[in-house]
Subunit: 390 residues, 2 copies
C-alpha cells in the first residue's frame, strides 16, 4: 500500500543580535567567516519565526511559503540545507529500513514571522534556523543543536547562532570543509536572565547594500579590515565571553559598543563606502551616551547591524531609567509594553537628540534574552498538506 | 632719539585641503603627527587670510585681532610661534647691531578672511600660516618656506602645508624635537594647473568634536588606527605623490576618496565614536559616485575634513559634467561663478540624492589649485599703529 500520509513537524526559532559582529567570509560557498562572533538570542515571545516542515509522496518537488508568499528556493544556500538534511535522513533510513522514506518525498515548508517584515530586522537568521530545525524535527534526526548549526550556517551565517538560546558564540573554526565552524553555547538565558533589549526601529529611506555583498566588498577593499579580524575581534571575543560569564554589564556594554563601532568603521572604510547608520542612528548613540553619563555608570549599550535600527541592551533593574529616557521622547510610537511608556526617568534627553529620534523612530520593540528553537504542535500545513487556515 | 616708528608687513596665505589626511599627534606639545600627509593648496582668489604684522615700542604687549574681534593669544601654540620668530629676529639683531630691535617690541596683528567664518571651513591652517609669514616678513627673516613651516606647524599642524602653493607634503619626520617635521613641495600649482575644487558647504546643526581633541581620542581608543598609520597612510602617500607627479587624475581621485573614508572610519572607531559626516555628506558621496559611474571613468573625487562639508576635486576639462551635475540641483544657492550654474551636464542626479543635497547644502565655493603666501602692500594696520579703516 502506498504511503499517502502527510508528515509534519513544526518549530519556532529566535532572532539573535550580535554583540561581537560577523562581517566577512573566508569561504563564500560554505559561509565560513573571517572571524568568530557572539550574540544574544532574543525572546520568541516578541520576535520569532514559526515554520512547519511537511513531506508526502504526493508533493511535487520542494516549496517554501514565507509570510503568505512563495519563496525562491533555488538558491545554493537553501539547496545546501535541503541536501544536507536529506542526506542525514537517508542515512537513518538506510540503517533502519522500517522507517518511512521521507528523504525521497517533496518538502513543503510554510513559515511566518510574528513581527513586521517592514521593520527591517534581520529575519534570515531566525528563518534559516527555523527551516533547519523544522526539517530536523520532521526527519527525527538525532543531531545536536551544534551539529544542526553547521547546516544552518550554510543557509545564512548568523542563523547558526539561532540554534541556541541565551549567549551564543559562533566559533569560526579552521578546517577547510567548515566542519568545525559552528555555534557554541557560552551561557544559557537563565545564567543572566535580566538582560533586556529595546529596539528602535528606524524608517530608512531605502534599503542599503545587502550584507552578503557588503561584507565581501569590505574583505576585498578595506585596508583596516585585516586589523579587525586579526586583532580586534579575537580580543573582543575573549572580553565578551568573560563579561557574560561574570555578568559584568559595564564590560559587556563597552565591548558591545566598541564592536558595533569597529564593524561600521570597516563598512565606512570599504571602497566605495557602505553606510548602514544614518543621522537617526547617530542620535540614538548620543542618547545612550547621555543616559550613561547622567547615570554615572554604564547602564545601556547600543549596537547596529546592517541597517539603521538601534538595539539597546540594558538590565531589567535599570528599566525605569533607560526605557523612561526613550519613552519620554518616543511615547507616541507603537511597541511600548504596558506601563513602560509612562515611566518617569531621571534622564531627560537634550532637545537636539530628542527631535531627531522623534522624527525618525517609527516603532519600538521591547524584548529580552530568550530560548533557542522550540518544538510546537502549531502547524502551518494541515493534515491534507494544504496551508493551514489561520 | 627713541624709535617711534610703526613697522609693518602684510601677507596673504591660502587654505589647503588634505588628500592624505593628518589625524593624530605623536607629540601634542610640539604638534608632531603620527603620519605624513599631503594637501592641495587652494587659490587665494577665493579663500585666503590677509594678515598684517606690526610692531612698535609704543605697543603694550602682543595682540591679535581676527575678523574684527580681539583673539586670545595666550595659548601655548600661539606663544610658541611668537617665541620662535622673536628668537630668530633676536639672532639677526645680535649679529647686526644696526638693525632696529623689533624683537623687543610688542606685536600687533590684524587678520581677516575673505570667506565667511560660518562656512565652517578649516581656517586655522591659513590663519597660522599667515601669522607666521607676516611676522617673518616684518622681521625680514631669511628662512625658507620649509623652515617657516616648522614654526607654523607648532601653531596648527596643517598650517605648515599652507606655506607652499600647489601640492604639498608634510613629512612627519622622526626627530624628537620636531626639527624634521615640515612641509615639502611635491609639485607647484603650475605642474597641474587645471585642478579644480568645488566645496559644498553643509549647514551642520552644531559643531562637532574639535579636531584637536578628536584626533587624540582616536589615537587613544581606536583599535583600527594603528593599522592606518603603520600601513595605510604610507602606501597612500607613495601612491598620491606618484599620481600628482604623473598627473594621473583617476589615481589621485581614488586615493583621495579611500583616504577620506579611512580617516572617517577611524573617527567612527573612536570610543565614543566621532561622526563628522552627516546624511547630507553621504548624499554628496553618492553624487560623486554617480557622476563617475555615468561618465564611465573617474572624473570627480570627494574628501571630507573634520566637518560635514564636501570638497570635490575635478579637472577643468570635466567642469561641464561635474559642475553641471551639482548646479542642476543646487543652482539656487550662492557661490556659482558666472556661467557655471547654467551648464547642462550629461549627468542627472537621482531624486533621492538631489533632494537631500537641495535641503542641506547652503552655498558652494568654486576654486582651484593656487599659490603659497604672497607678500602684499595692503595693510590692516595704519602708519600710526591703528586698525586700518577699510
Amino acid at each position: 500500500m502506498a504511503d499517502t500520509k502527510v508528515y509534519r513537524a513544526s518549530t519556532t526559532a529566535p532572532v539573535n543580535i550580535a554583540v561581537v559582529k560577523y562581517w566577512g567570509k573566508r569561504d563564500p560557498k560554505l559561509n565560513l567567516p573571517t572571524n568568530s562572533s557572539l550574540s544574544v538570542t532574543l525572546s520568541q515571545a516578541d520576535l520569532r519565526t514559526l515554520t512547519t516542515a511537511s513531506c508526502a509522496t504526493s508533493f511535487a518537488g520542494d516549496s517554501l511559503m514565507l509570510n503568505g508568499e512563495q519563496s525562491d528556493i533555488s538558491g545554493a544556500r537553501t539547496q545546501a540545507c535541503f541536501r544536507e538534511l536529506r542526506a542525514r535522513r537517508a542515512a537513518l533510513e538506510a540503517a533502519n529500513t522500517s522507517l518511512p522514506k521521507l528523504s525521497t518525498m517533496g518538502l513543503k515548508l510554510v513559515s511566518e514571522n510574528n513581527f513586521p517584515t517592514a521593520a527591517g530586522l534581520a529575519s534570515s537568521a531566525a528563518g534559516f534556523a527555523a527551516l533547519v530545525q523544522a526539517i530536523a524535527n520532521l526527519y527525527e534526526l538525532p543531531d545536536t543543536p551544534a551539529q544542526l548549526s553547521i547546516v544552518a550556517r550554510q543557509g545564512s551565517g548568523s542563523a547558526c547562532r539561532s540554534l541556541f538560546g541565551g549567549y551564543v558564540a559562533w566559533r569560526m573554526g579552521d578546517k577547510e570543509d567548515g566542519s568545525d565552524s559552528m555555534a557554541d553555547l557560552v551561557a544559557p538565558a537563565s545564567h543572566w536572565p535580566n538582560m533586556r533589549a529595546l529596539i528602535l526601529v528606524v524608517s530608512a529611506a531605502k534599503k542599503g547594500v545587502s550584507s552578503t555583498s557588503g561584507m565581501q566588498q569590505t574583505v576585498a577593499t578595506s585596508g583596516l579590515f585585516q586589523q579587525r579580524i586579526a586583532n580586534i575581534v579575537p580580543a573582543n571575543m575573549t572580553a565578551m565571553e568573560h563579561a557574560v560569564k561574570t555578568r559584568d554589564f559595564a564590560k559587556f556594554a563597552e565591548v558591545t559598543m566598541r564592536e558595533s563601532n569597529s564593524f561600521h568603521a570597516c563598512c565606512a572604510d570599504t571602497y566605495p563606502p557602505i553606510f548602514y547608520m544614518n543621522d537617526i542612528s547617530k542620535a540614538a548613540i548620543r542618547a545612550v551616551e547621555s543616559i550613561n553619563a547622567k547615570a554615572g555608570k554604564t547602564i545601556a549599550a547600543y549596537t547596529f547591524d546592517a541597517g539603521p535600527n538601534c538595539v539597546v541592551y540594558y538590565l531589567d533593574e535599570e528599566a525605569p531609567t533607560v526605557l523612561g529616557a526613550f519613552s519620554g521622547v518616543l511615547g507616541g510610537v507603537t511597541g511600548w509594553k504596558e506601563g513602560s511608556a509612562g515611566v518617569k526617568s531621571s534622564v531627560r534627553l537634550e532637545d537636539g537628540i530628542a527631535s531627531v529620534l522623534k522624527d525618525g523612530v517609527s516603532r519600538v520593540i521591547m524584548t529580552s534574552v530568550g530560548e533557542g528553537p522550540l518544538r510546537t504542535e502549531e502547524y502551518l500545513v494541515d493534515e491534507n498538506g494544504q496551508p493551514a487556515k489561520r
